[in-house]
């Protein structure tokens, strides 16, 4: 009685949310290559998980997409376990699963849903993780991503990024749109749109704002937009071009490329547009700044040596060191979060590819094989790099693991997508 009464409002809420989600262009993700070793895992459909977007299905899709898991068929086990104590390990070892996930979803009188799950090691026959969340129906997808993150973290030892968001630019006809979606491409939300090009979106490390460049004023101008309010502010609109924003790790300042004093040079500016301070003084081009996670150094692209190469500026001393030597076009550097190295775009012959260079060994590994791969952005766990690519003359997004093994492709119907930016971890 209480149950059937309480069900009505959240079913309605869920429907509304679904319809809103369906109305927007969605990215489709396809795995095009997998890891060398995958962890076999069985994900038992959660008891009462009869929701239109099954929580269990989202968890399975997240894990499978990472390329590090092989999802083992969980059908045919009777009775279907939903709690740790109901799991008979033999059922799962016989199917080759090293881990099994069970759970349940129980509607609450207030309309919320209690989601419980447990992750079990079938080899050691013990529980690895167990959580309970009580969430409104609108948070079910987010909860599924959190469960996938917990499983990923327990089994790989790395932080999961399924709960993070990505930003990207979609171009449809003459229209440019900055969108923010869940890391699996779902629920794209329009942040800003314009008939003039938008480019270079970057997330503030605190996840509250996105800086980007718009040509709507007939020149490149840097804006910062707050996601919660939608309010935006001009951060750099000096004489000449203003571009290539990069956030400082504390989200208080931006490195930008300005031409107000002649030539493209790096400057530091407060996130409200005040306090401009020049960072580099060269006769060449200095652009595409990117802060190291500790804020002590900035990688950037410069042609001061004759061809575009990557350099590192030490913020305190102003010392500048050239980082790349191989090839005549190395651009768009992005620091890895662990400080071990950086990814960048290198041109080899007529092809542009994403590569990774180690700071200590200076060794370069080319990660992608497209012909026009550009604009890399590193996931906050450092394990995946999302980038822009092209297929059949259309812009698509793709992701590659930092070891080059796992590859994914993200496409959107009827629009060109480019300029991906991976958001920070949820606090």
């Amino acid at each position: 009685m209480i149950r059937s009464l309480s069900r009505a409002p959240w079913v309605l809420a869920l429907l509304c949310w679904l319809i809103a989600g369906l109305a927007r262009a969605q990215l489709t993700i396809e795995i095009v290559g997998g890891g060398a070793t995958t962890i076999p895992i069985a994900i038992v459909p959660f008891a009462s998980d009869a929701y239109p977007l099954s929580t269990t299905a989202v968890v399975s899709a997240d894990l499978a997409r990472s390329g590090l898991f092989k999802v083992v068929d969980a059908g045919g086990v009777v009775p279907r376990p939903s709690r740790a104590e109901e799991v008979r390990y033999g059922d799962w070892t016989s199917r080759g699963a090293d881990a099994v996930v069970v759970g349940s979803m129980t509607p609450q009188p207030d309309g919320r849903i209690e989601v419980r799950f447990a992750l079990l090691d079938t080899v050691k026959q013990g529980q690895l993780a167990a959580f309970t969340y009580v969430v409104p129906p609108t948070q079910l997808r987010a909860t599924a991503h959190r469960i996938a993150d917990a499983i990923y973290e327990k089994l790989t030892g790395d932080v999961g990024v399924f709960s993070t968001r990505i930003a990207y630019i979609a171009k449809q006809g003459p229209r440019y749109e900055l969108l923010v979606a869940e890391a699996d491409g779902f629920n794209p939300q329009s942040i800003v749109s314009s008939n003039e090009p938008l480019l270079s979106p970057v997330w503030s490390p605190d996840g509250t704002r996105i800086a980007y460049v718009s040509l709507e004023n007939k020149k490149p101008v840097v804006y910062v937009q707050t996601l919660s309010s939608g309010g935006r502010q001009v951060v750099a609109n000096f004489r000449g071009s203003n571009s290539a924003p990069a956030w400082s790790p504390d989200s208080s300042r931006l490195a930008v490329t300005l031409t107000k004093d002649g030539g493209s040079q790096l400057y530091l500016i407060n996130a409200d547009g005040s306090g401009v301070q020049r960072l580099t003084s060269s006769a060449g081009i200095d652009t595409e700044a990117n802060f190291a996670a500790d804020g002590r150094s900035i990688l950037f692209t410069s042609d001061r040596g004759g061809s575009p190469q990557i350099y590192r500026l030490t913020v305190g001393s102003g010392a500048i060191e050239r980082m790349t030597y191989d090839g005549s076009y190395n651009v768009s550097p992005r620091n890895l979060p662990d400080g071990r190295g950086f990814v960048f775009v290198r041109r080899d012959g007529g092809r542009f590819n994403i590569a990774l260079q180690d700071f200590a060994t200076r060794q370069v590994q080319v990660l992608t094989q497209g012909s026009l791969d550009e604009s890399p952005s590193v996931a906050p766990n450092g394990k995946l790099i999302i980038y822009a690519s092209e297929t059949g003359g259309r812009g698509i997004l793709a992701a590659v693991s930092s070891d080059g093994r796992v590859k994914q492709r993200l496409t959107a119907a009827a629009s060109d997508v480019r300029e991906p930016a991976w958001g920070p971890l949820l606090k």
């Binding site: 927007r24 396809e30 997409r65 969108l179 040509l215 007939k218 020149k219 000449g240 595409e288 575009p308």
Partner: protein, 184 residues
């Protein structure tokens, strides 16, 4: 792993809302041209002053007309560059010289030089390359009589190609500076 793909509707709505708060191009009045007549006491303007034997009022109109007259070199507004280069080719020197003299003769005249690149390479690095192409032409115009304050150089990088193709022909057309006078 395939997810269903849906079309957007809400975003179109969003777009129209945002368009409302978007750009109003800065339209300038004829004020700068009037400045010219007021400031014609400078020695630089004296040479071109001889050409304005007309009534002061029509001089304003004829100046603007010269920019639009298809028979005038001033109606030509583009300079093209070689791949990976910002060297201004000799072919364009008469054109650059004509615009520099125009600005010299119209102290209130203001121009934006918009640099562009072909589609190859990093978007941001191309913004910087386009900027350098615009700066190269500005430098030349300043040597030929225009002043720093008259010319703003900006870059669109590879973002606004004139030719949307992906071949050498398109790239040649897109490696370009465009001259846009204030009020146009």
């Amino acid at each position: 792993m395939q997810y269903p793909v849906q079309k957007l509707l809400i975003s179109a709505l969003f777009a129209s809302v945002l368009a409302a708060c978007g750009t109003t191009p800065t339209t300038d009045s004829a004020a700068p041209v009037e400045d010219r007549n007021v400031g014609s006491g400078t020695s630089g303007a004296a040479t071109s002053g001889s050409t304005t034997g007309n009534v002061a009022g029509t001089a304003t109109g004829s100046q603007a007309n010269r920019l639009r007259d298809p028979n005038s070199i001033l109606s030509k507004r583009s300079v093209y560059f070689d791949f990976d280069s910002y060297a201004v080719k000799d072919d364009y020197k008469p054109l650059i010289d004509a615009h520099a003299r125009y600005l010299q003769g119209d102290k209130g005249g203001r121009m934006t030089i918009q640099g562009n690149t072909d589609e190859r390479g990093s978007r941001e690095y191309n913004i910087a390359l386009g900027q350098r192409r615009a700066d190269a032409v500005k430098k030349m115009m300043m040597l030929l009589g225009a002043t720093d304050s008259q010319i703003e150089t900006v870059s669109f990088g590879k973002e606004k190609p004139r030719n949307a193709g992906h071949d050498e022909g398109a790239w040649t057309e897109n490696r370009r500076d465009d001259f846009v006078y204030r009020g146009e």
